[in-house]
């Protein structure tokens, strides 16, 4: 009787069967890559804000210190977003009627807060605390990137748990001297120097490296 399929199908069958294996493996690889891609982590995307506030201008051009606006970064879990008043300390004098600043004046007039869009959003079950990181020698730039070069702010690091653990396991690769914390430009001359310095700082700042990857360090 007639064959149901043409003999060439045999080859086709073999190819598909073996191909399936490689396809499965390949798929896994793709998933791995995608979940770490900026597409998923939302890195490098300038977030739209009610006011076109330029960190580049204020930090780089005007040389404002981070703490001028982010006042509670050394004392609280939350770095602090400046109240409208803070903006107005200068902008009641300069750029008083620039259209760009209208929302700020409006906020002060109406006593309504400015609605910024959050850029660095750690999940609520991860209890991040700015003050302790600053105290132990983690620089702003380490997590927030070169804010002084961002006209509009974006997320520089993935902020995945993997990424957090990277530093919590090997802080010496990232720590810097206390006085350089707020310095955007600081970087150790070489990897070797960073490691030497890092090890010293771990000692000096009492960084309990073995404890840093305990669940309770971040989760409650």
């Amino acid at each position: 009787m007639a064959q149901v399929f043409h003999p060439s199908m045999n080859t086709f069958a073999r190819v598909t069967i073996f191909g399936a294996v490689f396809f499965a493996v390949g798929l896994l690889g793709v998933v791995y890559a995608v979940f770490r891609s900026p597409y998923m982590t939302g890195q490098y995307v300038a977030v739209d804000q009610p006011i076109q506030f330029s960190h580049e201008h204020h930090v780089n051009a005007l040389g404002l210190d981070c703490r001028y606006c982010h006042t509670s970064v050394e004392t609280s879990s939350f770095a602090g977003i400046p109240p409208t008043e803070t903006c107005m300390t200068c902008h009641s004098q300069i750029w008083r009627d620039s259209a760009m600043l209208a929302p700020v004046r409006e906020s002060l007039a109406k006593n309504e807060p400015i609605r910024w869009n959050r850029v660095h959003d750690v999940p609520d079950y991860a209890y991040f605390n700015h003050s302790i990181h600053v105290a132990k020698g983690v620089g702003c730039a380490s997590c927030h990137g070169r804010v002084d070069q961002m006209p509009l702010i974006w997320k520089d690091q993935p902020l995945t748990m993997e990424w957090c653990l990277g530093c919590h396991r090997e802080p010496e690769k990232h720590l810097r001297p206390r006085e350089e914390i707020f310095n955007m430009k600081w970087a150790a001359a070489s990897e070797r120097e960073q490691l030497e310095l890092g090890r010293k700082l771990v000692e000096k700042n009492h960084v309990p490296v073995h404890r840093l990857s305990d669940c309770s360090t971040c989760h409650r």
Partner: protein, 1028 residues
Amino acid sequence: MRKTSGPDFSALRAGLDGQTGPRFWRSLEELAETDEFTHYLHREFPEAASEWADPTGRRNFLRLMGASLALAGVGVTAPGCDVYNDPPEKILPYVRQPENIVLGKALHYATAVSLGGVGTGVVAETHEGRPTMLEGNPKHPDSLGAIDALTQASLLGLYDPDRSQVVAKARAISTYDSFLGATLGVMDAQRAKKGAGLRLLTPSITSPTLARQIRALLAEFPDAKWHQYEPAAPHAARAGLKLAFGRDVSVRHRVRNANVILALDADFLANGVGRLADARGYGIRRDPGPDKNGMNRLYAVEPTLTVTGSSADHRLPLKAADVLPFALTLARKLGVSGLPEPPASTAVAAQARFIEALAKDLQAHKGKSLVLVGANQPPYVHALGAAINHALGNDGPDGTVEYAEPIEAEPVDHFASLADLCKAMAAGKVDVLFVLGGNPAYTAPADVAFAESVKKVPFKVHLGLYEDETAALCDWHVAEAHELEAWGDVRGRDGTVTIQQPLIAPLYGGVSAIELISGVLGHPGREGYETVRETWRDKTPKGQDFETFWRTSIHDGVVAGTAAAVVKVEPKADLGPVPAVETGEGFELVFRPDPTVWDGRYTNNGWLQELPKPVTKLTWDNAAFMSLATAERLGAVDGDVFEVAYKGRKVEAPVMVLPGHAEGSITVHFGYGRSRTGRVGSGTGFNAFALWTSDAPGFGPGASVRKTGATVRLASTQEHRNVDWNLPGNTAKERGIVRVATQAEYREHPDFAHHGEHGHEPKKGDTLYNADFPPPTPGSEPDYQWGMVINLSACTGCEACVLACQAENNIPVVGKAQVLNSREMHWLEIDRYYEGDPANPSVHHQPRLCMHCEKAPCEVVCPVAATAHDHEGLNVMIYNRCVGTRYCSNNCPYKVRHFNFLQFADLRTPSLALVNNPDVTVRTRGVMEKCTYCTQRISQARYAAEIKGGRIADGDLVTACQSACPTRAIVFGDIADESTAVAKLKADERNYGMLAELNTRPRTSYLAKLRNPNPEIETQTEPTHHGV
């Protein structure tokens, strides 16, 4: 603890303005926007009332209603736990940043919360302007840093979405202004007739400001009358002391000084005025001390098995009516002169030996003994108590009891006062009635027809937190501001005043009694702040300027030097004739305020409804409590509904067996069977007030009961029905879960706690595991090793710790139906074991929380490592990793893990979201949870210490349960450091680990319980398995 003095209104208002901290503004932003919430705030009566009836429905209702705050502060819900799955957030900074506020850091304010007019000093923790936790104020004489369940739970009352939120005229929405308009109108009419038709009805008042205002009001309207009515207050004590001393005095106990204490139907450890201070004094003296002979001895004579009775070394169950003859017999034995022959009582006669020994014991400790009489006993017994204390010299210089000026602004007989009012109203003599707080329509005795007579009053105003039974009868209802929302002042037991400062702007725009009276007196706009300051301005001590005085007083939470003056009084020789002890056929009916919902003011408080009532472990209901024998005689088991008839009135009440209850006596609790309350309290229990009469406020004879055939399921957190009543107790003893001995035995065998341990706990090195703490890592200083010791001798089972834990850790309320299915979520439970004769068992209380085993069985079985150990010995639970296999709970020998079988945490009701502690994840459905040793507090303490470059010092860090405990039975700290308090206790020979032979190496351990019985009553026996 960091405290910030002074008010900060922008900060307080922040709670509603949405200009607040990290975990919060997202929610507030929505809160401000969603019309559900606006509607929520403005609706007259909460909808879907029908839903309230059934508890599960109630939960669904809770879940479905309100603005959708759904994911506020709850990362766990987001399926997939990575950043990119979170909903986008907004950040709303302040427009003007208030000083003191550092976003993300808690502030602490000292204030006071009152019960029955008497204040307990608290320190409130606020996050971005919303109070999330109350703790005792160490500087307050009535708190000494501890806090009880009721005081703690008033915090939830603040956020109760069912609180009345409007000014209502004839139950239609109106405004405060139109109310004032109407009021001023009628007041003018009254002014014409000197206020002859004006009446004021208030609860007990100790507030100097309120008193000052009321007096001002009475001055303006000389013929007006001020009536007071507080259902559950020490009326008999007031009357009794007046009888004894011929004048009004208040009494203070120095329990700490007492070697021998006799509680005559007095639940002084958990109930009534000064409970926390008394419990502290008692707890300190439950320590045998170096000479192993330092313990006090507590005798309790009572009908109902109370917290005090369950902690007593000797407890004598007597019908309430037999307490008088008992006291009289004792008094005569102690040589109190001029006392008549005690009325015949077979029950007392049978106790000759007991009384003999007791008398001897009291004699032996003249000046260092103490007799306390409970509010339930008639005045005469209180007078007797005073006489006995005097005869024993206990009221001497550094004795155990002292008398002072009354703390009430106007001590009166409340029952008479209410009766007068009703008579006047019935006679139509009353044109204007102000009911300032309280709920007399519900709490009035059945023989005082308040509800009927009040209808005759043409203009009646009710100021209250809820649109309750009384509000329904009044023309005007004004939403009252919660104590935590308004300015005020209140006295403690010893008269010390606390100035109450608001922690948040009134959520529902209520006014305080102070503000209302100002309004009536013609200063409508005047803030409570002004009025209170005015009171204190002229009370400023010499040589101090007012502002400093004011600020220090507010900061400390106590106004220095305001304690009531001690008075030197002696009881009269002749206390007059013995009141005829009513005896009648049938049962004696004992009336008590409910241990959790009190007189009904907390009926709508989920925390208290679900808090297992001390000893009985009943939740969500009240019951007719009776002894095992009585129940057997009636053929009753728990939950059988009986019709209780008393003085011609009837209620239907479910029976609950309470071993140790006096024979022939039945106890009922107030506070349930409310006809108008919120969605939580509706349909719970029966109304005991319906049987209660003013002529016998404590108890009365002649009650009859009849089985109706109906049954209800009583949600008790410890199984009764399927368990032979003393099986658990005996099993616990046999397994060495509770270990008990007398002080005498302890002297003989200091290591009694370790007698007959089955299979000894493997010692270090015996096991395959490294039996030591995690090895210290070179280069970094040693880790803290957290551990806890619970002193069973001091624990009274008052459940304060349970509620503190609930408030601190966002533990959800699950509802009666779930409790019936033993799904309650309390991380810390107090186990109650009965032992011995059911007629009068000895009771053991044992707090049970996560043991933080060094070799935790839960950790090895979790497939996703959602529960693991950290280097400081914490057994941590990571909710967002948990997939909910529940294997950990099955494998936990202590069964301290609690599973979110359903969505228990209320994520929808906006006002309830405000009470959550932002430092603790709100758990969602399908995850396991358990005690964390307050890991969030550990973290906060660590940040504080390490930013300064130091270490956490012993005492800087206390867990919520520890800070609440009135007797200081719970001690927590670093056990690796020998110098800490907890390490010293760990070294004590009485220290033992529960089920330690399983080699779980529990970090939470217990100090074996010591009793101090009178050898003449209890013949000493050798300790067998873990003591007697």
